[in-house]
């Protein structure tokens, strides 16, 4: 349905290029379940975090020099001589951490409320692709300042590919552009670090197209049944997202202005030196769970396979969890296992940051085992044996008790087959 615009220029443009109709349709009247809680803020926050990273990153690239002899010094020049360079760089540096915090919360929200289930499987899988792209981007970005952790992190992670039988060594040489992590590696990482965020934008667009096909899932996990269940996106969720953004920015600013190196590794303020290996090579915190899985397997190839496997299971999650009930609220046993998984991932994060010795190794093996057991065993079995609680008939029923009308906010039902 074409919206009516008062401005004649807008009408003229919209008649030929219906972008205003499109925006009205997708951002204004877009029907949304009325019961979304604050965990649903993290999707839009992730989008804003991406924009913050793009703007700060493009600005940094104007001052950065991707060369092994100048990279470290050019970053220090940004910190000391470029106007507000310290602010731009601290925003970008901490923005990466906050982007991952927001996205990880977004993912766990999807896990708890079953947002990956039919008909949103592709929406979920596109999300996993975005996470993978984010990881690649973040990893290559961390290499750019060319500090000790940049260099040794790059060396360790690229060396993982040498575990591939037969062609492994050739692949590593090809990735490096030489026989060690060196200037060609830094150059290509800079190039790809600049490219991948735009690929992420592309996948985010697909993620949104898939989202708007059926609209948001909701805490009850039941579909929208009638106009009473839904409210237009604007102004209800625009203002709620704006408030959430405010809270996010307060926390983000607190770190950027008062503890900018909180998430950082002091060793990365030492220029890269191929002759001196740091005592402990630790990746950024957001990689620690995967790093823990990698190290918990005694075999190199096995470790690499399990690490990638930990993300691969997310791809097939919609077919592992066959329970017809989406929301964890109505799945008494699933709920318990969900929180065990949360604790398990926190434990993996902890073990990933510890040296691979003694008790930490045993702990990380148990945590790794449980991670896979959860997805490959617990979820499929729960789908069979768990008795879910009674689902509400509709979204408005439990909220309003008697199903009272919501005339002011109601809109027409979403046309799902447009």
């Amino acid at each position: 349905m074409a919206a009516k615009f008062e401005n004649s220029i807008v009408r003229w443009i919209d008649h030929r290029l219906p972008i205003f109709t499109f925006m009205h349709h997708e951002l204004h009247e877009y029907p949304t379940p009325k019961n979304l809680n604050y965990w649903w803020n993290f999707g839009s926050l992730a989008g804003i975090a991406l924009v913050i990273m793009l703007i700060s990153g493009i600005t940094l690239a104007m001052h950065y020099t991707p060369h092994v002899d100048y990279a470290f010094d050019s970053v220090e020049r940004i910190m000391r001589d470029v106007n507000y360079g310290w602010l731009i760089r601290y925003i970008h540096m901490n923005g990466a951490s906050f982007f991952f915090i927001v996205v990880y919360i977004h993912i766990f929200r999807g896990l708890y409320f079953g947002s990956y289930k039919a008909p949103r499987e592709l929406l979920w899988m596109l999300g996993v692709v975005i996470m993978l792209l984010m990881m690649a981007t973040a990893f290559m970005g961390y290499v750019l300042p060319w500090g000790q952790m940049s260099f040794w992190g790059a060396t360790v992670i690229t060396n993982l590919f040498s575990a591939i039988p037969v062609v492994g060594e050739s692949i590593v040489t090809w990735l490096w552009g030489g026989f060690a992590v060196d200037n060609p590696t830094l150059n290509r990482f800079f190039s790809l670090h600049y490219l991948l965020p735009f690929v992420i934008i592309g996948v985010v667009v697909l993620h949104l197209v898939a989202l708007h096909r059926f609209g948001s899932n909701n805490p009850l996990g039941v579909d929208i049944k009638s106009a009473k269940d839904q409210i237009p996106f604007h102004p209800y969720y625009t203002v709620k997202d704006a408030f959430g953004l405010g809270v996010f920015l307060i926390v983000f600013s607190a770190v950027v202005f008062f503890a900018p190196n909180f998430f950082g590794e002091p060793d990365n303020y030492i220029p890269a030196n191929p002759l001196v290996t740091p005592a402990h090579i630790v990746p950024e915190w957001y990689f620690l769970p995967f790093y823990a899985i990698l190290r918990s397997i005694p075999d190199k190839l096995g470790g690499v396979l399990f690490m990638f496997g930990s993300i691969a299971v997310l791809f097939i999650l919609p077919w592992l969890d066959r329970s017809p009930v989406r929301s964890g609220q109505f799945r008494p046993i699933f709920k318990i296992f969900f929180w065990i998984l949360v604790v398990d991932v926190v434990a993996l994060t902890y073990f990933g940051g510890k040296p691979a010795e003694g008790w930490y190794v045993i702990g990380s093996r148990f945590a790794t085992a449980y991670y896979f057991i959860h997805f490959l065993l617990v979820l499929p079995l729960l789908s069979i044996f768990e008795t879910p609680r009674q689902l509400p008939k509709s979204i408005s029923e439990p909220v309003l008790g008697g199903g009272a009308g919501l005339a002011g906010a109601a809109t027409a039902p979403r046309e799902n087959d447009r």
Partner: protein, 254 residues
């Protein structure tokens, strides 16, 4: 009020789980000091900065470079333009080529970076028994524990316990990882004479030079904190208004 904390706790327990600064078994405890620049409203104590700069110039600068800091940056320490010109002019820099194509030496200018004591790392090693004195521009950011660590090392020289054998050219330092350090004890009581008559104890010199080097690592710390206070105050008000707006708009839904 010196709180004894493990180096681990320097970044707080959450950070260790998240950021994971890996620490080997047997690393030393770094006591926490009171710094003028810590806390939300912290600023660098200017007198301490100038004393610390004096310690750096008279003691550290003979071996340690400070190559990311320019003489002009000393304006933040409270020196005026003429003083900075005079400080810079004490050093010579290689410049050129001139119109005849020759390289030449000239006195350093405020726009120059701090002149390094050695031409290159190899020269630095050759003069220091094989050990490389690190550049100090980022030393506070580059060490777990930051300024506390620096202070601990500078005041950590002690006689080695009887059962510890220290090789020639090495010194015992309780706060240094492995307890052996190649740097000879740099500070002595009254090793410098402070212009403001502050008694130049080892602890005082260590405190001052650590403050100076904290500034060298993060010269924008004061501006950052000042800006941060205003940004967060604004955001608190703005977010409060957004919350009120949200409540009003949603009133008809709840």
């Amino acid at each position: 009020m010196i709180a004894r904390i493990k180096t681990l706790a320097a970044t707080a327990l959450v950070a260790s789980a998240l950021a994971g600064p890996a620490l080997a078994a047997g690393e030393v405890e770094i006591p926490k000091q009171d710094w003028s620049f810590s806390g939300v409203f912290g600023t660098f104590d200017r007198a301490s900065l100038q004393r610390g700069f004096q310690v750096y110039q008279n003691v550290c600068a003979s071996c340690h470079a400070l190559k990311h800091v320019a003489y002009r940056n000393l304006v933040q320490l409270g020196y005026n333009e003429d003083e900075i010109k005079a400080i810079a002019a004490e050093k010579e820099v290689r410049d050129g080529p001139n119109d005849e194509g020759e390289m030449f030496n000239r006195p350093a200018k405020p726009s120059d970076r701090f002149v390094s004591p050695f031409a290159n790392d190899e020269a630095a090693r050759a003069s220091n028994g094989g050990a490389l004195p690190p550049d100090l521009s980022l030393i506070v950011d580059a060490r777990v524990g930051g300024a506390n660590y620096l202070y601990a090392v500078l005041t950590g020289y002690k006689d080695a316990p009887a059962d510890v054998k220290i090789p020639d050219g090495m010194y015992y330092n309780a706060s240094f990882t492995g307890s052996q350090i190649a740097m000879p004890p740099p500070l002595f009581p009254d090793g410098v004479t402070y212009g403001d008559n502050t008694p130049a104890t080892i602890a005082q010199q260590a405190k001052d030079v650590s403050t100076f080097l904290a500034w060298a690592s993060e010269p924008n710390l004061e501006q950052s904190k000042r800006t941060g206070v205003m940004v967060i105050l604004f955001l608190l008000v703005f977010t409060g208004l957004l919350y009120a707006t949200k409540r009003k708009i949603w009133a008809s839904v709840h």
